[in-house]
């Protein structure tokens, strides 16, 4: 029992210090914006870890290509304008990861209001994004730090529950 308490305390301490140090080194908590209705402070150095604006744009180009080719999502993205979508996603990810961009596109709620999006669709998109990041050699920790910025959007994007 004593061991259990000690272990619990240790793990929460290490987690807490990890979270605290992550937050103290970053920019202050961002405000809600069209880029994200559920802001999460980006991990330090995330924007640079993705290669800055050039790297993010290349990642999004690859990502949009994969979305259109993925058997689960191709139908949903069939009519999407690839260049425009990649450009909007780049602005969004650039801004959310701490870069100097300002995303001016639709909110996630508006962007998906005209289509049916299930949790399965959302998860499938996350997997495709993971594949894109793998292809560009983004380290696993950095991948999760980006996903942490995007994950809460499921509340606005998934509209079929």
């Amino acid at each position: 029992m004593k061991h259990l308490i000690a272990l619990t305390a240790l793990s929460f301490l290490s987690l807490g210090s990890g979270l605290a140090s992550a937050q103290s080194m970053d920019k202050p908590m961002p405000a809600a914006s069209p880029a994200s209705a559920y802001p999460v402070a980006p991990a330090a150095g995330l924007f640079d870890a993705f290669g800055g604006q050039t790297g993010i744009r290349a990642l999004m180009n690859d990502f949009v290509g994969r979305l259109k080719a993925d058997p689960r999502l191709a139908e949903a993205f069939k009519e999407a304008n690839s260049a425009n979508l990649a450009s909007q996603l780049s602005d969004q990810v650039c801004q959310l990861s701490g870069g100097p961009c300002i995303y001016k596109g639709p909110t996630m709620k508006d962007a998906h209001a005209n289509m049916d999006v299930t949790r399965t669709d959302f998860n499938a998109l996350v997997e495709v994004l993971q594949l894109s990041m793998d292809a560009r050699g983004i380290p696993f920790t950095r991948q999760n730090q980006l996903l942490a910025l995007l994950a809460p959007m499921h509340r606005d994007v998934v509209n079929v529950r």
């Binding site: 979270l19 399965t120 998860n123 696993f140 942490a148």
Partner: protein, 315 residues
């Protein structure tokens, strides 16, 4: 009248075959019909619910996500210094909201059975489980500290065996029900998953030695047992971690009253594990377990440490 108990433990070759099948499935193209991200359904606990190896988590089992139904099956084996445990079962996940599970455990009592005059004794238990997700999303709510919370029950029933008389004498019942609440959260940016479970139980050694005890004024009531799992994601497909599951110690007093000293005392179950999910259909878990002392009277007070291997198949 003692009946010779035919050994029905899973032969080693059987387990090898299962692992091979798992490896084959892993090599096959991963087009699961159901939608959870890898490893986010947890693995199968020894009791059949979805979670870690020892503790049920708030996640709903199988690979199915909202609006889907999924099934998962598992087969597990643990070998400690004096005992062996086989477990297998099936769980169904409904709409990522409800989980129903049925599990079977076959515990080889080894030396303890022999010393009790029941050589080759196997204790077999069936566990019916149900779990409901109440609130929260363990994986995607990275902007809040709010965990996913679920409540569950596990009804456990020990088959009749040569140990019936001993259990009755100790005042332990052969069936009982556990109630638990779990809170699970994946801290996505850090890649760490934490689960805390609080279980109301009377089960001795998870039910393998019955439920409760009355001999010698033992405490026969429900006790609240804390359980903790911590997992660190090494990659999309691999997680490592540890678990601790506190155990009630009801038989200790009863054992003393029966003249065994503290020969029936129990200790917390713990493990350190590595879980690998090569595809959405298969996951394998390997662990080093420590089940504390299990009937130390007949096992020379040894801590039951050993290996645990589990394969889970999800559809």
């Amino acid at each position: 009248m003692k009946h010779p108990h035919a050994s029905r433990s899973l032969p080693k070759s059987g387990l090898l075959a299962l692992t091979a099948a798992g490896a084959l499935l892993a090599a096959a193209p991963a087009h699961a019909d159901t939608g959870k991200l890898l490893l986010t359904g947890g693995v199968s606990t020894i009791d059949g619910a979805a979670g870690g190896g020892l503790s049920p988590w708030a996640v709903i089992g199988s690979q199915a996500t909202g609006g889907e139904t999924g099934v998962s099956a598992y087969v597990s084996r643990a070998e400690t210094r004096d005992y062996g445990l086989n477990a297998y079962g099936v769980a169904i996940g409904l709409n990522d909201r409800v989980e129903l599970s049925v599990g079977h455990q076959d515990f080889d009592t080894g030396i303890t059975g022999t010393l009790l005059g029941l050589p080759g004794l196997h204790l077999k238990q069936n566990i019916l489980g149900a779990k409901v997700r109440i609130v929260g999303d363990a994986i995607l709510d990275s902007d809040t500290l709010m965990p996913q919370i679920a409540v569950g029950v596990q009804h456990k029933r020990l088959d009749s065996s040569g140990l019936d008389g001993t259990l009755a004498a100790l005042g332990a019942k052969r069936s009982g029900t556990d109630f638990y609440v779990s809170a699970t959260k994946l801290f996505l940016a850090q890649g760490i998953l934490i689960n805390g479970t609080l279980r109301a139980t009377k089960a001795n050694q998870g039910g393998l030695l019955g439920h409760g005890a009355t001999l010698g004024g033992a405490d026969n009531g429900y006790e609240l047992m804390p359980e903790l799992s911590v997992a660190y994601l090494l990659s999309k497909q691999v997680a490592v971690g540890f678990e601790v599951r506190a155990m009630p110690d009801k038989l200790k007093k009863a054992g003393a009253a029966a003249g065994l000293g503290d020969g029936l005392r129990a200790g917390a179950w713990k493990d350190v594990f590595i879980a690998w999910a090569p595809s959405k259909n298969v996951s394998l878990t390997l662990a080093y377990v420590d089940l504390g002392t299990v009937v130390p009277a007949t096992t020379k007070n040894k801590k039951q440490t050993g290996a645990y291997l589990s394969a889970q198949f999800a559809f």
